[in-house]
């Protein structure tokens, strides 16, 4: 029974990890329609930033910058030529992810590296260790920051305007190229932050990104591509489902169950949890 | 033939259609007008299954259309065009028409190459005057030609009810005239509903007009009756109806 109750916070904390890795993805997709397969490698870049600095609090902003700049470069150099072709972007960024993985292997070596967790994260409240709570808090902070940015800053509102009608926004004086750049910077930066957080609980190596990318995509799909509210609910839902499914069966089956659940869910809500309505015929 | 009763559509609290009743008997050419946001396109969307009404009934020839999938409604004989014409640019003109003509055939029979041009396609080509361009890819057509191709595709479908969403928008004067002739021809042996802003076009071709305003039917009647109606003038901001509706 105790174990059963424990699974609840565990599920939420798994959800927090999912949310954190999917947040940047949902941001870039929602705002720009870009599916970034190199997102996992931006997470990895964040984790390696933490490895180089060996200081969690310093690493958070630094990783945001590092991954964000990588995203910025990617956007300027390649992705901007692909707007409106999400499938091509998906494949292009996959190529980028391959190169980045091998680059990490050459720069840092193939074996995992160690990032020491700060001593103040040792300990636990109930079943949840401090580092899990830290991730939970970080995920919440990330969501709040994105929400505040989009709804309550000038630049955020511009971003929203571009999402709703790119041409109209452009003719009313918004530099859409700049907005895209900034959006991609933030989305990738969030991946970097996720990478720092993941060093607390997982391996830090060239393959890091590949472990999380499929799950992150599932969250984005189930949440409704690009919907912040949806992503939060989907992450929590999938986290809990995963936690209980694994508890009653095993880790392998839990993954299969989560996948089946997402397919089933799409039968009920084909466009994810929340969708923007549009009268345009696509 | 087509009957709408108390149709309501709500988008995020906004009543796009707020209890519309509409009856179109067989063989009629009906124009739908109204200011922007009056719900004209939404009405067509409801009839063709693109938008599901929150309440109300839509019957075509005794069939309930609400909740039916788009392609099933087409199979009942209801065809439509779009404001911004959508044709398949990678296919040739004749291929576009041929696809439109073939939908009643079983899918497996499509696994063969097209041999020659079917009668329906031939007819559509002649009516729209696109014979010369038959083998050109649809991507190279001008705006007007695209609109005609779309009309041609609609004809090739051999529908019983045609819904045209702003068929002359963006056309030159000559193109409009040709479209008008085409429309007259079509209306001779089809039931047609046209959404149109162009008042001159309206005057020349309309027999009966329905005016929509804020999701409701404001008035219905002949062109003269409608343009004389003070409520219509008020809706169009008190200006002379011809200026206002003509836009």
């Amino acid at each position: 029974m105790e174990a059963l109750v424990n699974q609840l916070p565990i599920g939420l904390s798994i959800g927090a990890v999912l949310l954190l890795v999917a947040l940047g993805l949902t941001f870039t997709f929602g705002q720009m329609g870009v599916i970034n397969m190199a997102h996992g490698e931006f997470i990895m870049a964040g984790a390696y930033t933490a490895f180089l600095l060996q200081d969690l609090l310093l690493a958070l902003p630094a990783a945001f910058l590092v991954a964000g700049l990588m995203g910025l470069i990617l956007e300027r150099a390649a992705i901007r030529h692909f707007y409106g072709r999400p499938l091509d972007t998906l494949l292009l960024t996959w190529g980028v992810s391959l190169v980045l993985q091998q680059l990490a292997r050459d720069l840092f070596g193939a074996p995992n590296v160690q990032v020491a967790a700060p001593p103040w994260l040792t300990g636990a409240i109930g079943i949840l260790p401090y580092n899990r709570l830290f991730i939970l808090a970080l995920a919440v902070a990330g969501v709040v920051a994105v929400w505040a940015y989009l709804g309550h800053t000038r630049q955020g509102r511009r971003t929203q305007a571009v999402v709703q009608n790119r041409q109209l926004a452009a003719t009313s004086g918004i530099d859409t190229g700049r907005v895209d750049m900034l959006t991609f910077f933030i989305g990738s930066g969030l991946a970097g932050v996720a990478g720092v957080a993941l060093t607390l609980i997982g391996p830090v190596g060239p393959a890091l990104g590949t472990y999380y990318i499929v799950d992150a995509f599932l969250v984005v799909v189930a949440g409704g591509l690009g919907q912040l509210r949806g992503a939060v609910l989907a992450a929590a839902g999938l986290g809990l489902l995963n936690s209980y499914a694994e508890f009653w069966s095993d880790a392998s089956l839990a993954k299969v169950i989560v996948f089946a659940a997402v397919i089933a869910f799409l039968q009920v809500r084909p466009q994810g949890m929340f969708v923007l309505r549009s009268r345009a015929l696509t | 033939m087509l009957e709408l009763r108390d149709v309501r559509v709500v988008f995020d609290g906004f009543h796009a259609l707020d209890g519309v009743d509409l009856t179109v008997p067989e063989g009629e050419l009906r124009f739908l007008i109204g200011p922007n946001g009056a719900g004209k396109t939404t009405l067509i969307d409801v009839i063709t299954g693109l938008t599901r009404p929150a309440a109300g009934t839509v019957t075509f020839d005794g069939h309930d259309l609400v909740g039916r999938k788009e392609h099933r409604i087409v199979r009942l004989g209801v065809g439509r065009t779009f404001q911004t014409s959508v044709v398949f640019e990678e296919l040739s003109v004749v291929e576009n028409l041929d696809l439109a003509a073939c939908f009643r055939r079983p899918l497996w029979s499509l696994a063969r190459r097209r041999k020659g041009v079917s009668q329906a396609v031939e007819e559509a080509l002649t009516r729209t005057g696109l014979e010369e361009l038959a083998d050109r890819s649809a991507g190279v057509l001008s705006h007007g030609q695209r609109q005609w191709l779309e009309l041609g595709m609609l004809l090739a479908q051999r529908p019983r009810l045609l819904l045209l969403d702003e068929p002359v928008a963006g056309m030159s004067r000559e193109e409009r005239e040709r479209t008008g002739e085409l429309l007259t021809q079509i209306a001779a042996d089809h039931t047609v509903i046209v959404v149109e802003h162009d008042m001159e076009f309206l005057r020349r071709h309309a027999s009966k007009v329905t005016v929509l305003h804020e999701g409701k039917v404001l008035v219905e009647g002949s062109v003269e009756q409608v343009s004389a109606d003070p409520r219509v003038q008020e809706v169009y901001l008190g200006r002379k109806p011809s200026d206002a509706v003509g836009k």
Partner: protein
């Protein structure tokens, strides 16, 4: 007429006569392996290039075909339980396995199994108008889930090891060079037939309809067709091809394992199709053979570089020549013609 068929005849002669004569057996079976991949690529070319469905889970179907064939081969050996069951502690043959002793059933399942899964998945997702990126991601997740499932059922599937160590195929010694040559001819023949059939389909009305669905799914609905059906049929056809390719792959290469049907191999094939040229079926075939060859050649020279090369090649193709090699050749040809 003759002119029209001359190039194809040339290839057929080259592939069926010259290659077996010129290549040593090891290289010939490598080529056979690439041609298996080319069959999968053909299906991807159909689904993605023509139908716009980016399927990132084609490895799943390839794997199902491969596993069906492998199960037959394991049972055909005779001599009791398959080796991996023995060391997995399985004591009697699972019921799931029994019908696979029949080669007709096994081959049928290799094709129909993938088709059935594609029909179910296609019906579920296309009916709900899940498309584009959604579909891509879902097929990718399918590949991931499938691998986990196969790995987890070690007693049934051989786990991560998969199945290997096959001895004979319909009485012929699989190790013999003559068998491998024969297998090569079968693979090349199947590829040729499927290529012609797919081309026929693409040029038919259905092919036009498929392109229409790709470019304007919603518009097609108002032409009275159900795009979900069109897409499901196409997806199923491409799945069937992948399944058949998998079934041929197993006797050629001698192994099937979950690693062959995961996310990465599925993506690699899509890359190959993109490099070859997704809109031309021949481009897809070309891409698969070239990338297969490049991978072998490159990893023989310098292993680490392969990932760089693959990634870079891909970025270059996507940015500079989105229509792939076929597109470049096409442009070059039309430039010369004018």
């Amino acid at each position: 007429m003759i002119r029209k068929h001359l190039p194809f005849a040339t290839i057929a002669v080259l592939a069926l006569v010259a290659a077996p004569l010129l290549l040593e057996p090891f290289r010939l079976s490598l080529l056979a392996k690439y041609l298996c991949y080319a069959i999968v690529a053909l299906g991807i070319g159909l689904a993605w290039g023509q139908g716009g469905m980016l399927t990132l889970g084609q490895g799943v179907f390839f794997g199902l075909g491969g596993y069906s064939m492998a199960m037959y081969l394991k049972l055909a050996e005779g001599g009791g339980l398959p080796d991996f069951m023995v060391w997995s502690g399985v004591e009697e043959l699972p019921a799931l396995w029994t019908p696979f002793a029949n080669p007709v059933f096994a081959l049928g399942m290799a094709v129909l199994g993938p088709v059935a899964i594609a029909v179910v998945l296609g019906t579920l997702v296309f009916r709900q108008r899940v498309r584009g990126a959604y579909f891509a991601i879902l097929t990718q997740a399918l590949a991931a889930a499938m691998v986990i499932l196969l790995v987890g059922q070690q007693g049934l599937t051989g786990g991560t090891n998969g199945m290997t160590n096959f001895f004979d195929l319909f009485g012929a010694d699989l190790a013999a060079d003559s068998t491998q040559r024969g297998l090569y001819l079968v693979v090349a023949g199947v590829l040729g037939v499927l290529y012609l059939a797919t081309r026929q389909l693409v040029n038919s009305r259905f092919g036009r309809l498929l392109v229409a669905v790709r470019d304007g799914e919603d518009r097609v609905r108002f032409l009275g067709y159900n795009p979900a059906t069109v897409k499901t049929v196409t997806f199923a056809a491409s799945a069937g091809m992948a399944g058949l390719a998998g079934a041929l792959f197993v006797p050629v290469v001698g192994i099937i394992s979950p690693a062959l049907l995961g996310v990465v191999p599925s993506l690699e094939l899509v890359v190959a199709v993109a490099v070859g040229g997704r809109h031309a079926l021949a481009g897809a075939v070309l891409g698969a053979v070239l990338m297969g060859y490049a991978k072998t050649a490159f990893s023989e020279q310098f292993a680490d570089g392969w990932l760089y090369l693959q990634g870079a090649l891909f970025i270059l193709v996507m940015t500079l020549a989105p229509k792939g090699i076929a597109g470049i050749l096409g442009r070059w040809r039309s430039a010369r013609a004018t």
